[in-house]
């Protein structure tokens, strides 16, 4: 489903964010992307949703070269994905409800169905109370959960999540990770960047580790029975 062929990303000013990455993520896999701050995790995801075009190499998503996709087609690529951005990227002047159902809205889903969709999804992330609040009226963790709700509301094939639990406490983190697990079990491909050692130990099927833009580890993950041991 996602294939990287010798992908390198060099930002203006010769900052190498990724170098020579080649890998294949099959449909339905749950991939955890780890690495230190500045290792290139966000860049890796940004290349997949074509927020950035690789300096070298090719990226295929469902067999399509995303770098050569005409600008007009990019929205249609992104609509097949649910994306949780590291900085949330919420729409400031829209309420939680409007943020979560923005894409359904422009896709022509009627108001009642949108409300239902939003309520169902916000319930999953524990934010139903705040459905009519504006982002500025929410705590950091609440904003993060809105971003997650927005990413999954449409039942996308592929979910890209950049540090989706950075602002959440351990219990809530684990709940959200379970949510991703659930979505994964419904057949969704997930690529999730995370610093959280819990996430890296308990969830996902495959761990990719980046270091200074290089892929230094790529190994299968198994769910480990450490949950009880580390409970806060």
């Amino acid at each position: 489903m996602i294939e990287f062929f010798n992908v390198s990303m060099v930002y203006p000013g010769d900052k190498v964010a990724l170098s020579e990455i080649s890998l294949r993520i099959p449909r339905g896999q749950f991939v955890v992307l780890a690495g230190k701050s500045g290792a290139g995790k966000s860049t890796f995801l940004r290349l997949i949703y074509r927020a950035e075009v690789p300096s070298r190499g090719q990226i295929l998503v469902n067999g399509r070269n995303v770098a050569s996709l005409p600008a007009k087609k990019v929205p249609f690529l992104r609509r097949t994905m649910g994306i949780v951005f590291q900085d949330f990227s919420l729409i400031e002047r829209k309420t939680v409800f409007e943020n979560v159902t923005f894409l359904p809205h422009i896709l022509g889903v009627d108001a009642r169905t949108r409300r239902e969709l939003a309520e169902r999804t916000l319930k999953r992330v524990g934010l139903l109370d705040h459905i009519d609040a504006y982002p500025a009226e929410l705590s950091g963790g609440e904003q993060q959960r809105v971003a997650i709700a927005r990413a999954i509301v449409n039942g996308p094939d592929l979910v890209l999540a950049d540090e989706p639990t950075g602002n959440l406490d351990p219990d809530l983190s684990r709940e959200i990770m379970r949510l991703f697990e659930e979505i994964h079990l419904e057949g969704t491909t997930i690529v999730l960047a995370s610093h959280d050692p819990e996430a890296q130990k308990e969830f996902g099927q495959r761990l990719l580790v980046l270091d200074h833009g290089r892929l230094v580890a790529d190994r299968p993950l198994r769910v480990m029975e450490t949950e009880a041991a580390v409970q806060g």
Partner: protein, 297 residues
Amino acid sequence: MSLLQALAYFFWEAVRNLLRGWRISSLAVATTALSLFIGGTLVLLGTNLTRAVDQWRADAQVVIYLAEDASSDQLAALRSGLENSSVWTQVREVSPEQAQIRFKQRFPDLAQVAGDLERNPLPASIELRSRGSRVQVAAEIAELVRQGAVAEIDDDGEWLEKMEAAASVASLLGLLIGGILMIAAAISIASVVRLSTFVYRKEIAAMRLIGATEFFIRGPFVVEGLVQGVAGSVVALAALWLGYYGLGGLELPWFARGALLDFFLSGGQTSGLLALGGLAGLVGGLIPLRERTGVFG
């Protein structure tokens, strides 16, 4: 979303943005209104001034003072020549007595003095009003002089030329200023729309990141420009109307009244102004969206 739904969505988004960002949008509305107000004032002024000049042209006279020793044959020939010419719209004879009465009316202080004079020094005259160009009138005047019965000709034409030149300079200037201002209005709306895309660049980026097409992202901004332009022209029309009838209540010199206040904008001019505002808004809303380098890059 169907096209109709999309348009409704654009409209509501635009209205919402305008209401929330009213300080920003009021700038564009004000600039448009100001431009159209000044443009409209100049149109009004031009219309009224042109009519006033037409009026003065109609009022302008060529006065022929008749020679005292003109024979009655000469006079008859002169009269029939004037009657048959197509240049003159009015031919009125003023006898020395009528001239004296008029003189007394014009200088009432002197009425007695004038009456005391042993002899009426005022000659008979014929007052003519003309239609047609200066050249035609000049040719006719030449013809009159040839007749021999004429002592002197007094022609308002020179002054009229000045007034016409003044009116044409004013019209030219009005068109120029009006044109510049309309461009300014469009640029101003464009700037405000561009600004509002800039102010909300993060939101726009967010919408784009989650898969909104350019059509949906830009639509509300185009409608925003359009609404601002139309709002500006409505404000301008209201201000023009108020100004027009406000001035009507003031004591103005007859000249100013004639040049300013004879006619308000016609229906055509009014809808033209509205259309111009809408056009400026539409152009203003579209310009920033055509740029591939900016927020919409």
